[in-house]
Amino acid sequence: MTQSESQSQPDGSSDQPTFLRGIEFITGPDPNLGSFLLTIGIVTCVFIALFQFTMPSPVSHLLTAGVITITVVSAGFAALLDSLNYFDQSSDSVSQVAPDPTQTSKPWVPEKRVSAPLPPMINFDEELSELQAQFDGELPDQFTPFLEDYRRLKTNPKNRMSIASDLRADLNPISVILDEDTPEYEPYQRMSDGLFRYIGDSADHLSVTEVTSRDAAGEPQEVGAIAGDLAVFDLSVHNEGEATDVEVIVEFYDGDESLSTWSGSLKSVSPGATETISTNIYVPESTNRMRTDARPA
């Protein structure tokens, strides 16, 4: 089809009958893997039946083999297209034709799909909503560079550290228009603190939130009561930063003297997730206290 032919009907797709729009559903806009495979299956059955019932013996087998070959090739294409995320992208296409985000009610929501969620400490959607409400539904111009970099932060998971540094700088013009005594200052302060923590030591993003030690009978016990025995420890680790492998450390003490150290690992703890590791650890005799720590592996 040439360019002139396509331009002769500029609005052809908008006023065409529903039936013509419907026949594009397999590989046209808003494609769907289920309908794709179903159609291939139906056509395969129809052609095989046709050839088997109407053609003489050796030819019917050859044509049937041809149909099956085309079906296998089509299934291969379907798998390839699925791996390229071609199917079921209707929500993306809707978001791609959305108007300029700076003109929408939530200018901090990017047009592109977010591939990796933001860690809780730098997810400022709530703070920005609060600030927008306090500025009567429209954020001042001083927020524009911050919002642009914040949208970049959401859509570029590999480069977040440097973008977070830019965001810290973008807070400066905002601080000029905010007074410490006003309610707008609190969400601003939370954003500033969150960025400060994110840019700082990544070990601070991890914390051991809960430690449970149980004896052989399964009863929860203080660490001093299970000294000299093998005990079951449940260690919950919360990650406020980016997804990372985590090394969990348990150290047993007699007063200030370290008796032994155990370490284990958790694979790929997601942002905002709390994961628990359960393990058997021998608690040295004379242990009277323990220390736990979590850090990136």
């Binding site: 594009e24 046209g28 052609f47 030819v59 044509l63 041809g66 085309i70 390229l84 570029n156």
Partner: protein
């Protein structure tokens, strides 16, 4: 961009219509009261046309999907 999508849609539509025409003629030829040799030749040819159209259509769709993904990657790199 929208014009490109519309043009691609029209191309898709033409390909489907041609597949339906050749597939329909293939069915008709299979039931036609002609000697076997003519029926076999016609049915084989028309089926070949239909299958060829379908595979070439799939290749176009695959190329479009790869282009779309590469342009996504390009956009992500540019915005970094």
């Amino acid at each position: 961009m929208i014009d490109e999508i519309r043009r691609a849609n029209r191309g898709t539509r033409v390909q489907y219509v041609m597949m339906v025409i050749f597939g329909g003629l293939c069915v008709l030829a299979a039931f036609a009261p002609f000697p076997d040799i003519i029926r076999i030749t016609t049915v084989g040819t028309l089926f070949g046309f239909t299958a060829g159209l379908w595979v070439s259509h799939l290749i176009q769709v695959l190329r479009r999907a790869i282009d779309a993904q590469q342009s996504d990657v390009q956009t992500a790199v540019e915005t970094q």
